[in-house]
Symmetry: C2
Subunit: 410 residues, 2 copies
Amino acid sequence: MFLTKKLSSSISKAILSTAKRTNTLRRPLSDDKPTINTSQDFIHLQEKNSQHDFPHVWLRDNCQCEKCFHVESKSRIINWKYFDVNTKPSDVQLTKDNIEIKWDDGHLSTFNLKWLHERSFNKSDRKNYTENVYKLKKKQWSKNQFDSIFKKFKYDCLINENEELKRWLESLSIYGVALVTDVPSSSDSCRRLASRVEFIKRTHYGEEFEVKAKPGTTNVAYLASNLQLHTDLPYYEYKPGTNLLHCITQSNSSGGENLLCDGLHVADQIRRNKPANYQMLTDVQVEWEDYGEEDGNKFHSMYRSPVICLDKNGDVARINYSTPQRGSHLDVSVDGVKPWYESLKIFTDLIHEESAHYKMSEGEMLCFDNRRLLHGRTEYSDTDQNVRRVIGAYVDWDFINSRLRVLNNK
Amino acid sequence: MFLTKKLSSSISKAILSTAKRTNTLRRPLSDDKPTINTSQDFIHLQEKNSQHDFPHVWLRDNCQCEKCFHVESKSRIINWKYFDVNTKPSDVQLTKDNIEIKWDDGHLSTFNLKWLHERSFNKSDRKNYTENVYKLKKKQWSKNQFDSIFKKFKYDCLINENEELKRWLESLSIYGVALVTDVPSSSDSCRRLASRVEFIKRTHYGEEFEVKAKPGTTNVAYLASNLQLHTDLPYYEYKPGTNLLHCITQSNSSGGENLLCDGLHVADQIRRNKPANYQMLTDVQVEWEDYGEEDGNKFHSMYRSPVICLDKNGDVARINYSTPQRGSHLDVSVDGVKPWYESLKIFTDLIHEESAHYKMSEGEMLCFDNRRLLHGRTEYSDTDQNVRRVIGAYVDWDFINSRLRVLNNK
């Protein structure tokens, strides 16, 4: 099943002979048909309005023949222990739909032109694929834009209709927030919806968790007092990707409103207006921490990470913010402490300025991106007859993104 | 419960008056007793052989009084919306065990000296805390060192003895590999052991998964042919932290051996000897990908990440390598393709050179760090009477590190 032949290393003669053949392969541009030619390391596909260059080594690595690619598992089965990165074509042919390559060791590969186009190395093609297939491009929003981006979806439609499920997940991906309405007043409504994506992420607090005022709690979320803006579980390296908060009973008292702030937007404001503070917030690693006990099981979670985490492209990948769960250890030289606190204060002021308010009604489920949004809750007061009760659950982005790709391919 | 008073902003007079008081607080060094003094932004604790500086803002933020700190949840409950980063002490006293501070708004804080020492900003103290409390420092190993670092633990002892459980998790943390012996031949042995840590990580492949030759599989791991060195599920952002592989039935045929290679060691070799290739392997984001279907549920996982992922300190945080699950899209300019492949080949050659072999016996469970180690398996051949059967499960580092901290505090 595995290709175990050692491919011969490249030979300059082959390159020369390929270069010669290039002339016979090239078709005149005037008839608007594509042409190909071959250089030292590339095959160049020339079309009417564009050129696509494909490296020899990439083509050989991605040969789609059955010796190199296992169709059922859609997996490369070339044994890379014996792969030759200097392999060269000895013959290249362009047909109507394919490029056919004979390699210097005699191996044959056929590449469909459409398949190649989808994998073009041109910058605009790569960007298009990145933002539409790999992951949807996020759009930031300010407090004033909240009403226009806050989309509503009926629970039943999400359970029964794939198109509606897709639109809900797209809203969550692009804006980081969406509301589900007409949710059955059952404690497994989060679970049923999560199972439409994949499954609930389990944490130290279980799968579903109940948010209501609890005496003697080991978590400040279970107090009726105001819950400051925060992200959930910043002390996990694998912090929950999205929150589903299903309101079973809302408080009749004033308060109990949710606050929602787009951390992407706040980060972008600080990046533009306070670059030195942005630097501190993206550089200094904070120790997020949680001690607790759930069902008799003790835990002590810790994770070091900046408030604003950037990915390799410099885009915001994750926001961490939780005053109760910010540990007292700070791994920074003592002179860096005050400048960091000043930066944290700028961040804190801005998330309060940029927070939208929304009070869930019974039968609504607030869904948001926990790696991006900050959320909080204003103080409320329960009575014996009216105990605010919310059921929460988490779903991770690995599964949301997978579900979106599957739905898009239907 | 929350501190809602707005603290007054700093006043230069307060600084001056604090500076004056410093002289009265300072005790002579000659009697070896600690002394304190205060400067613009710091309290300085002078001891016989060391000095510890604590920023005012950090002290105020970490006040341990009941208005600022909720003991049951071990959480800061200062309302940061109103926090003043320029707050100053108006009076500081050193007692036998504590530093007592009166702040310029009248608030009082008491800090235990032992508590402060544990949070010292001195570089060596921070390093000590980082490597012993935050996370254990990893030690890399070469193929030749494998026998000496490969520790064995009896299953029953892990289930019943906390000290042994701790030693097993320490081995996994430090060396990334450990063997469990005398494992009951039951399909829930992984689950029982995982529950001693916390719980199994669920993936698209379920919680436990069975590795045996399966016809028509959508995953190459379920073939009897050789399984090339790889890390599991590189196409998850939250890729499983550790693998537990419990051998229920081993193949009597030759082969079926596991290969194990320390990715940390290989990365370090390339960093030292081939810095340009190291740069490519840590920079270029590869698209890891898996299409599949499990129990009728389709998935399409993707995650972009370099082969060698570095953390903010430049240390290796994660290794991604899996030829079957390396996607055909490569988001890099076309000129960067061949140099990257050359670097991948160097990595590939080195992981083969640096792989130790170990053939599990029935009743053994091989445990390893999936973010660090590469593993593979040599080809084997089943007979009708002898079908190799391994049950696997994953446990994430968030939970292993938490369990280790709890065990260390007992």
